[in-house]
């Protein structure tokens, strides 16, 4: 990976309303961040506008609120998006909407899509078992996600419109090998939907990235990334007949973590640095990193700076990134890589047997693997079998007053005001036409991105588009299993 340059130093950031958040983005870029992934608040991620009843208390809390294109413009105001390596967001359940917002941002500025790069997570399937921002039943959700990939094959081949995640499934307890298998099954499901529409594997595979995760064992982390790349290459070549090296080479995004604790939170700086180093040595392409106070709240500016500097130190000092695969050939790492590869393939075979990615959700297999693992993990921590300094070893009380980051009290009001203003100024006829085109694409199965792009350009809100989807496709049913 690092033959020409080290991993891309990336920041996942967002809070409050767009104007305040824009200042944070500018600061991050001043410090040297090369990529910005916008953290959206939960109402946006779940397809509700800031004035919706379900948004009460949540506006701007875990990310920035985006209701319309006006918010996107405020968010990137004064930032030359061509100078940033990638911009993007998660948007797992509203792929076409966030893709359209980023595409419209360039259009409004007269910048060609070829002159900047957008990255989306846009991986709805894992939401049903792990992250929980699902809006629709998973069938139509997967279709909308693949519409983004299909659209990019024609209009923006160098964008990365889908990042299939191991991260949240492992964090939820599945364990990194099983979580990797579930994520691979999800990726294969998206790929097969695209192949069924007539796209070729060499066309679509390079547009997919993965987001691996192993946060407890340094050497298993390195092995996991090495094994995942092997498995991916073989699946693309042997299962789907890929011939281009781009289709077989897997690019990865990672989020550096340690076993962060609330007690003496500064210790998390070293935990996170070690976790991130493992990803770097495993050859991750795009690296994000936790801030040491994330167990408390949204990170403060100071802790974000420490996180960013930690990435830059790993990327540029100590020679960590001078050599490709520096641990290759180590007896232990080679053994672990084979071991992890076997585990991933065995779990993937189990999933294939059960009926693939949709069955992981519908049969409860995914949640069962996660619950079992989460209980096992909690027992290991409670009993001390898994050491945790300041928690179960040399335990300390977490009573120190926190310096939790708070969003401005008036964020939600500012946001709701901007939304009301946009609604008052837009052309209602254009809005109605745009929403009718969204309805038509729901019914016909045509690619959803073009009508949604026209809609966001007509100042239609995120919630209004998602409401049309809810009306056509229905809503997901929450699971009450545990």
């Amino acid at each position: 990976m690092y033959r020409t340059e080290p991993f891309v130093v990336s920041a996942y950031s967002g809070f409050g309303e767009a104007q305040a958040c824009n200042q944070r983005f500018r600061t991050l870029l001043d410090w040297g961040a090369e990529q910005i992934l916008v953290a959206l608040d939960l109402p946006t991620q779940c397809g509700y506008d800031s004035d919706h009843e379900m948004s009460t208390g949540e506006v701007g809390q875990v990310g920035v609120a985006i209701d319309t294109l006006a918010d996107m413009e405020a968010l990137f105001d004064g930032i030359d998006i061509r100078q940033v390596k990638r911009i993007g967001t998660l948007g797992n359940s509203l792929g076409p909407v966030v893709l359209a917002l980023f595409a419209a941002l360039g259009q409004r500025r007269g910048i060609k899509w070829s002159d900047y790069t957008v990255n989306l997570q846009n991986d709805p399937l894992k939401e049903y078992i792990a992250r929980g921002t699902q809006i629709l039943p998973h069938g139509p959700a997967a279709r909308l996600a693949t519409d983004c990939v299909a659209w990019c094959t024609e209009h923006a081949r160098h964008w990365s419109p889908m990042t299939v995640c191991v991260n949240h499934i492992n964090a939820g307890g599945a364990g990194s090998s099983r979580a990797t298998a579930i994520a691979l099954a999800n990726a294969l499901h998206y790929i097969e939907l695209l192949l069924a529409q007539g796209y070729g594997i060499d066309q679509v595979a390079p547009l997919l990235h993965m987001f691996p995760d192993e946060r407890h064992d340094f050497f298993t982390t390195v092995a996991n990334l090495r094994a995942l790349r092997r498995v991916w290459a073989r699946l693309m070549k042997e299962r789907y007949g890929a011939t281009s090296s781009e289709a077989m080479a897997l690019r990865t995004t990672v989020y550096g973590h340690g076993q962060e604790a609330l007690q003496e939170p500064l210790n998390n700086v070293s935990r996170i640095a070690f976790g991130t180093l493992a990803y770097a040595l495993g050859g991750a392409s795009y690296v994000y990193i936790a801030s040491y106070d994330e167990a408390v709240s949204t990170p403060t500016e100071e802790s974000v700076k420490v996180a960013l500097r930690t990435q830059q130190i790993i990327a540029h000092e100590h020679g960590f990134s001078d050599t490709i695969d520096p641990l290759g050939g180590s007896y232990f790492v080679e053994y672990l890589t084979n071991e992890v590869e076997h585990q991933i393939l065995a779990a993937l075979a189990e999933i294939d047997q059960a009926g693939g990615a949709p069955a992981v959700i519908d049969s409860g297999l995914g949640r069962r693997w996660m619950s079992e693992g989460a209980v096992r993990r909690q027992r290991a921590l409670d009993s001390g079998a898994r050491p945790w300094v300041t928690v179960n070893k040399w335990p300390q009380k977490g009573e120190r007053p926190d310096t939790a980051f708070r969003i401005h009290r008036e964020s939600a009001e500012i946001q709701q005001r901007r939304l009301a203003q946009v609604k008052a100024q837009r052309d209602p006829q254009r809005v109605a036409q745009a929403l009718a085109a969204v309805d038509a694409a729901c019914a016909s199965g045509a690619n959803m991105v073009p009508p949604v792009l026209a809609a966001v350009e007509a100042w239609v809100t995120v919630g209004e588009i998602c409401d049309r989807w809810r009306r056509h496709f229905g809503e997901f049913t929450p699971s009450t299993d545990f």
């Binding site: 875990v62 307890g173 709240s297 996660m370 209980v375 027992r379 977490g398 929450p478």
Partner: protein, 135 residues
């Protein structure tokens, strides 16, 4: 524990927060300790949680919340419970909740807040002591 005196607990997710691993681990831990546990599933409004608590006749509601909306949603939940005449149903919470918020939450009737690093056993003991019938 006598079966008809089992503590009944409603584990709830309110608001849009989609992280429910903690909620499910606690639910299993309470079951293992002999309690009866109902889980609401994701994305419930305070009104829906109150309705479930009344229908299931629970002793206590344990809310898991990591989204930062706790200062709005938890006091609202307590108020709705009280308005429904369910002053006797306890309300406890766990999740990503800053230290500074714990005291105001207590004053709003959230009697206990568990943060990161709490063991399942700590929670089991608290619920048994506070909501179990006297021996």
């Amino acid at each position: 524990m006598d079966s008809d005196k089992r503590i009944r607990v409603l584990i709830a997710k309110v608001g849009l927060d989609g992280h429910d691993v903690g909620a499910r681990v606690i639910a299993r831990g309470l079951i293992d300790a002999g309690m009866e546990v109902i889980y609401t599933g994701l994305r419930r409004t305070p009104e829906q949680v109150v309705r479930a608590a009344l229908e299931e006749d629970v002793d206590v509601i344990g809310v898991s919340i990591l989204s930062g909306a706790h200062m709005t949603l938890l006091p609202k939940l307590r108020r709705l419970l009280d308005e429904a005449g369910a002053q006797d149903i306890g309300l406890i919470a766990g999740g990503v909740i800053p230290q500074d918020d714990i005291e105001p939450l207590r004053r709003a009737g959230v009697t206990q807040v568990f943060r990161s690093g709490t063991t399942v056993q700590d929670i089991v003991e608290h619920v048994s002591q506070q909501y179990g019938s006297p021996a």
